[in-house]
Symmetry: C2
Subunit: 377 residues, 2 copies
C-alpha cells in the first residue's frame, strides 16, 4: 500500500475518516427529522463513496447525468433519481435503463416535455415514474408552487398514462446565505413550497407519494420537515470552502484536498509555485464573493493542518501561485522549500473532483488507495 508521500502530484486526496463523519452527521440529522435520505452522487461520482453513504442508511441515490445512472446501476444501485429535466432525446437512454431493471425516476417542469415523455412511453409500452420539479427559490428550473402550469404538467403525464411519482425542489440559493437564521428560513421556504405543490396535486386528484427537497445547507439547517418524504444533498460528503463560508462546516471537516509539490519560488514576490494549477483545483472561484475569498484554495501541511493565511492566490493550467494573503512572506523559500508536499483545500469539491480520473483515499492507518471516479457524459 502507498502512503501520501509516495503519490505523484497533483492528486485528489479523500480523508476517509472525515468523509465518514460527514456521512454520519448528515444521516443522523435525516433520521432525527424522520425523512429518507437520497444523496446526490454528482459530488463524488465514485462507488466507494456511494457505498459508504448507502451503508450509513441512505435510500437510493440522486444523479445529475444518465451516465451516472448507468454506472451506478452497473455497480448494483437500482433506486436512482435523475434530477435534471428530461428531454425527448434522452428518453431512449432512460428507457434502456428501466428495461434492464433500474428503478429510474425522471423529472420534468413543463408540459412540452411531459407530453414527450408520455408519447414516448405509450409508444414503447413503458410507464415512466415522473417527478415534477418545483421552483421554491427562483434560482433555476421548476414550476412555482402556485402556478397553473403544475396541474397542466400533471394532467399531461396522467392523461398520457405515466405515473406521477411526486414533486422535487432544490433551494440552491441557500449556497449564497451565510447565517443560521437565513439558512433555516430558506429550508422552511423550500419545505413549505414543495409541500404546498404536493397538496395542490393531491387536491386535484393526482397521486404524489414523494416530496423531495434538499441542498446541503438547507438539509443541515431545517428545523422540521413536515410533509417531506426525502431529502437530497451532495457536497456534504466532502464539504468545501464554499460550504465553510456558508457556515455548514468548519475547514477541519473538509474531506477532499489536493496534494501538491512546491516546484519553485519568486522570493521577491513572496510566492511559492506549486504543481497544482487550475487543472488540479478547477477554475471554481466560488468563495470570490463570499465573506472570505480563498483564491483557488487554502494551503495545509501534508498532515492536513491549515496554514492560516497561505492561499493559492493564482493559477495557470499546471502552476499554482501560493502566497500569504495581505502581506508578502519574505521567507517563503525557507518556509516551503522546493519539494515540500502540501494539501490544498478546494473551493468547490464537485468541481475539483471532476478534474481527476481517481481519488486517492487516505485511511486512518495513513495508507492510500485509488478510488476511481466517473468522467464525462
Amino acid at each position: 500500500m502507498a502512503h501520501l508521500s509516495d503519490l505523484d502530484t497533483p492528486a485528489a486526496v479523500i480523508d476517509i475518516r472525515r468523509m465518514q463523519r460527514n456521512i454520519e452527521r448528515m444521516q443522523r440529522r435525516m433520521d432525527e427529522l424522520g425523512v429518507a435520505f437520497r444523496p446526490h452522487v454528482k459530488t463524488s461520482k465514485s462507488m466507494p463513496v456511494v457505498r459508504a453513504q448507502l451503508a450509513a442508511g441512505a435510500k437510493g441515490i440522486t444523479v445529475s447525468t444518465l451516465k451516472e445512472a448507468e454506472f451506478f446501476f452497473s455497480e448494483g444501485v437500482s433506486d436512482i433519481l435523475y434530477a435534471v429535466g428530461m428531454t425527448a432525446r434522452k428518453l431512449p437512454q432512460a428507457l434502456a435503463l428501466r428495461r434492464r431493471g433500474c428503478d429510474l425516476r425522471i423529472l420534468t417542469d413543463n408540459a412540452d416535455s411531459a407530453r414527450a415523455i408520455a408519447d414516448f412511453g405509450r409508444e414503447r409500452g413503458e410507464v415512466f415514474d415522473v417527478l415534477i420539479e418545483i421552483d421554491t427559490d427562483g434560482h433555476r428550473s421548476g414550476i412555482k408552487p402556485d402556478e397553473p402550469a403544475l396541474l397542466e404538467v400533471a394532467t399531461a403525464l396522467a392523461d398520457g398514462g405515466m405515473r406521477i411519482a411526486g414533486v422535487l425542489t432544490h433551494a440552491g440559493s441557500s449556497y449564497d446565505l451565510d447565517t443560521p437564521a437565513a439558512q433555516q428560513a430558506m429550508a422552511e421556504q423550500e419545505r413549505a413550497g414543495c409541500v404546498h405543490a404536493a397538496e395542490r396535486l393531491r387536491a386535484a386528484g393526482f397521486s404524489c407519494p414523494i416530496v423531495s427537497v434538499g441542498s446541503t445547507p438547507t438539509a443541515l439547517a431545517a428545523r422540521h420537515l413536515e410533509g417531506v418524504t426525502e431529502v437530497r444533498a451532495g457536497v456534504y460528503v466532502f464539504f468545501d470552502l464554499v460550504m465553510a463560508n456558508a457556515g455548514a462546516c468548519s475547514t477541519d471537516e473538509l474531506a477532499l484536498s489536493v496534494l501538491a509539490t512546491v516546484i519553485g519560488h519568486q522570493v521577491e514576490k513572496g510566492w511559492a509555485i506549486v504543481d497544482a494549477g487550475w487543472m488540479a483545483m478547477s477554475r471554481d472561484r466560488g468563495t470570490q464573493k463570499q465573506k472570505k475569498d480563498y483564491g483557488y484554495g487554502q494551503a495545509c501541511t501534508l498532515d492536513g493542518t491549515v496554514l492560516p493565511g497561505y492561499l493559492l492566490t493564482g493559477a495557470n493550467q499546471e502552476h499554482g501561485i501560493l502566497s500569504r494573503e495581505g502581506e508578502r512572506d519574505p521567507n517563503i523559500a525557507e518556509r516551503l522549500p522546493i519539494g515540500t508536499l502540501l494539501r490544498i483545500l478546494p473551493n468547490h469539491a464537485c468541481a475539483t473532483g471532476a478534474q481527476y480520473p481517481a481519488y486517492q483515499a487516505l485511511s486512518e492507518n495513513a495508507q492510500v488507495e485509488p478510488w476511481s471516479r466517473l468522467h464525462g457524459w
Copy 2:
C-alpha cells in the same frame, strides 16, 4: 457516421475546417518569421489534433504533464518538451521515458532543482537535456534575464554533467492585453528577454542551442524573432472567447463549441435552461474582466452562427441559464423551444476540453466522429 443532431448532449464539438485554418495560419506565420514551431498540446490533449499540427509543419510538441508526454510518445511523437519546472519526485518518470527512446527535454528555474536533476542523472548514468526557464513578464515562474541565478543554475547543471539545452520563456501576461500595439510590445519584451538570457549563458561559456518563446497572442503579434529558435503556442488551435477579446481572432474562427439542448424555460425571467452547465463549459470565467464579459459562453445556432446577445449567463453543475444580455427576451420560449440544439462558444478552450473524455469532430461533410482526449495526471 453520425451527424451533430444525433449526439447526446452536452458534447464538445471541434469544427475541423476552422481548426485546420487556425493551424495553417499559425504555421504560416512561424514560417514567415523563420522559426520552428512546437505547439503546446495541453489545449487539445488529443492525437488527431496533434497529428494535424505536425502534418502542417510543427517540429515536436510541448506538454504540461508527464502523462501527456507518455501518451503522445506512445502515439509515435518523440520530440517532447515538458514545460513545467521539474522536481525530484518526477525524475524517475522522466528517466523512464528517455530510456524508452523519448527525446524528452525538461525545465528548471532554480539551483535546488538543477542539483537534484544533476545528482539523479549522474547516479543513473543519464545526461538530461535541460532548459532554463526565464521570466520575461513577471507573471509566473522563471529567472529574470539579468539575475545572477541564471548562471548559478547553468553551473549546477553543467558541473553535474547535464546538457544545457537552452532557455525558455512564456509571456502569459499577454492574455491580459487587448491591443495590437500592446501585444507587439509584449512579444518584443518576451523575445528580447529570452535572447538576452541566452547571450549571457553563451558569454559565460555555456552552450544554449534552443531559445524558446511563446504564447498565442505574442506568437501572432511578433514583428520579428531574431535570436529565437522556436515558438510555442497552444490555444490558437481552437481559439476561444478570451482570445477573441484579446484581439487574436474573431468569434467566427473559434473551432471548439459545446453542443447543448434546451430543456426548460423561466419565461418571466427570459431564461432558457440548457443541459450544459459548468461541468460542460468548465468554471472558467476568463472574460469576466475583459472588454466583453461573455458569462459562461456565447450561444450559437446548430450551424455555428452566433446569436448576438444570447449568453450563458449562469451555470449550475448540469444546468446552464441562457438569456439575452441587457434586457429580458419575453419570447425566449418561442425563439428557443424545448429540444432546440445550440452550440455554445467557451471562454477558455483548454478548460472546456478538459471536461470531456472525447471531442466530437465535425467534418466539412457534416459528419462527426469521436476524437478521444487525455484526462488527469
